[in-house]
């Protein structure tokens, strides 16, 4: 039977491995075998290390500040096109405790405000209403795309909501934030799978309901942690509670723990399952490794995501 001590040992081992994988540039690569830094795993790793005395969080933050695009967004990897993408939300979340990053984060927030799914344009809305109706969704309800010039999807929308919710006020140029966040939330509600929960964002295609995914559902639920009374959210939580004990993959299990903790559901058995996973520290995927750290230390992780569990 795993104990709290076992959890602490698991967390300590995974954190040590994570720290060891930090690249000289300050970032982390997506895979242990790679030396190409990438923004997504770096953001998860920076959140996981936080204020802990392991790794070099300052170098990680410097790396994120250095790699920001001139338009305020972040690239997926350094050297990528400068138009930016979905990892911008993660970067502004990962930099939340850093005073010198205020200006960079503001630029990031502005970029997010100006970025929206292609269906936000009237012409595409008209197309989706009249000629392209095989995927059931309401194009009036749009969120954020993976990267510009494509339509909205669940995960980038949820991350953008989490990021924009971290702004303490919506004054000045940022006054549109509540409207955009609300539109994003409505988009999430619209894209829910008929059986509860979310997948990438296609609830019904060609008249057939599609199945939800645990990780997509969990990320959406994190963004909707203050909407726990909504029946759509409650059904998604029920789905996640049902499926989480069956998960053997670290990524999905870690996200499920974070989401269920955010919705104040019991997670002790899941937490034990995660810390008991064999070879957790040797996980090839560094983003998954960092997420395991976050889930094993979920109170601090939820605070970093701006979620009050």
């Amino acid at each position: 039977m795993p104990t709290v001590t076992t959890d602490a040992i698991a967390l300590s081992n995974v954190l040590a491995e994570l720290a060891q994988r930090q690249l000289p540039c300050g970032g982390w690569a997506a895979l242990a075998s790679s030396s190409q830094p990438a923004i997504e795993p770096t953001c998860y790793a920076a959140l996981a290390l936080g204020s802990l005395p392991v790794g070099d969080i300052e170098r990680a933050q410097d790396f994120l500040l250095r790699t920001q695009n001139p338009n305020g967004s972040w690239p997926v990897v350094p050297g990528d096109d400068q138009e930016g993408g979905w990892v911008t939300s993660l970067a502004v979340i990962a930099l939340r405790d850093l005073v010198p990053s205020i200006s960079a984060r503001l630029q990031g927030f502005h970029w997010l405000l100006n970025c929206s799914g292609k269906e936000s344009n009237w012409l595409w809305r008209w197309k989706f209403r009249t000629a392209d109706r095989h995927v059931r969704f309401d194009p009036d309800k749009y969120g954020w795309p993976w990267f510009p010039d494509t339509v909205s999807w669940v995960v980038p929308t949820a991350f953008a909501i989490l990021a924009l919710n971290q702004i303490p006020c919506s004054c000045g140029d940022l006054e549109r934030i509540p409207v955009r966040v609300d539109c994003g939330i409505q988009m999430l509600f619209d894209r829910v799978c008929p059986g509860g929960g979310w997948n990438a964002g296609n609830g019904v295609v060609y008249g057939r309901p599609l199945a939800p995914h645990a990780d997509d559902t969990a990320i959406a639920l994190l963004a909707l942690s203050d909407r726990g009374q909504d029946p759509i959210v409650q059904r998604a939580v029920q789905y996640l509670e049902r499926v989480a004990p069956t998960l053997t993959a670290t990524w999905s299990l870690a996200w499920a723990i974070l989401a269920l903790a955010a919705h104040r559901r019991p997670i002790a058995p899941l937490h034990d399952s995660l810390s008991a996973l064999p070879d957790l520290s040797s996980t090839e995927d560094t983003g998954t490794l960092a997420l395991a750290c976050l889930a094993l230390d979920y109170s601090r992780a939820l605070s970093a995501f701006g979620v009050t569990g």
């Binding site: 190409q36 979905w86 993976w146 990267f147 494509t150 999807w153 990438a200 599609l210 990780d215 053997t248």
Partner: protein
């Protein structure tokens, strides 16, 4: 999108072999006997993988119990074993699922994880592999380049291992459409939406022109008809198709499904520069290609694929 004679071609070079070879093999079920099937079938082709890095690219999209979505792991294992026996320096399996972000979960649920571990076959998640900006060798989409995974670009011998399926957006998904899986989700998202916006048929052509497929092993033992790639109906076909040319492979698979390959846009256009679709240019070995008594069902938009 068709390259009309009076327009400049949208491809950089004509990569067609003079002749192509396709073998249609009979296999009624997924079993250890697939080892022997491929051990006998692959040597029908004059290929040399000695000392080469072989990358097997199966079709792994998502897992839905009871649905024939993914290339069966036993076929992939049999292929790995065959190429090892033929002297490959290394054989690895690589894929970037297009619907499910948790690749480890798809591997576990679809039965890959256990087999890969037992047989000590390395798996590379192409959604998160190192990225290299790569100029496209055709211009059907209008994109100049794509970020593509290092593992695929550096492979000596890339084997496309599709599941034979009808597809609600592209008509069919075979060895050429299978290349969508090399486009990294970490860069382009889940699903790989940019390819839909730039045109699915066009994207298939640009990808196949840029990342050459050396060999095809298509899983048609239990295929999928109807609303593929996820929610179609399993369709026992009892065939494994091998080919040294992806266009010839897909044209043959289309015929086995009861479709006219010249009505599949990417096969027809691919036959201009990537490979051979016409039977006169294909050396058929093993079984003959016979259309099914009842063609594969498709969504209404693709009823034009039927031969009759």
């Amino acid at each position: 999108m068709v390259t009309a004679p009076f327009l400049l071609p949208k491809y950089h070079s004509d990569q067609r072999p003079k002749r192509s070879r396709v073998a249609v093999l009979h296999a009624q079920q997924y079993s250890q006997e697939l080892d022997q099937l491929l051990a006998a079938g692959i040597p029908l082709f004059p290929i040399n993988v000695t000392g080469k890095t072989v990358v097997l690219k199966p079709n792994l999209v998502d897992y839905i119990p009871g649905n024939a979505i993914n290339t069966h792991p036993l076929l992939v294992l049999a292929a790995a074993e065959s190429f090892r026996r033929l002297g490959a320096k290394s054989v690895l399996v690589a894929e970037g699922p297009g619907h499910q972000r948790d690749t480890q979960l798809v591997l576990a649920q679809s039965g890959y994880e256990q087999f890969l571990r037992e047989e000590k076959i390395r798996f590379v998640d192409l959604n998160r592999d190192e990225l290299i900006r790569t100029p496209l060798h055709a211009s059907y989409t209008g994109m100049k380049d794509l970020w593509l995974p290092r593992t695929v670009l550096e492979a000596d011998f890339l084997v496309s291992m599709p599941k034979i399926k009808a597809h609600h957006w592209s008509g069919v998904t075979l060895s050429m459409k299978n290349m969508f899986g090399v486009v990294p989700g970490a860069r382009y998202g889940w699903p790989k939406n940019i390819l839909h916006w730039k045109g699915i048929q066009e994207s298939i052509l640009d990808l196949c022109a840029t990342v050459p497929i050396c060999f095809v092993i298509a899983d048609g033992i239990v295929a999928m008809e109807g609303n593929g790639p996820l929610n179609g109906t399993p369709r026992p076909l009892g065939r494994v198709v091998l080919a040294d040319d992806p266009v010839a492979a897909d044209a043959t698979c289309a015929r086995l499904m009861g479709f006219d390959p010249s009505r599949i846009v990417h096969v027809r256009e691919g036959a201009r520069f990537l490979g051979n679709a016409a039977p006169g240019f294909i050396d058929q070995v093993a079984e003959a290609v016979a259309p099914p008594a009842i063609p594969f069902r498709v969504v209404p938009e693709f009823l034009n694929l039927y031969t009759h």
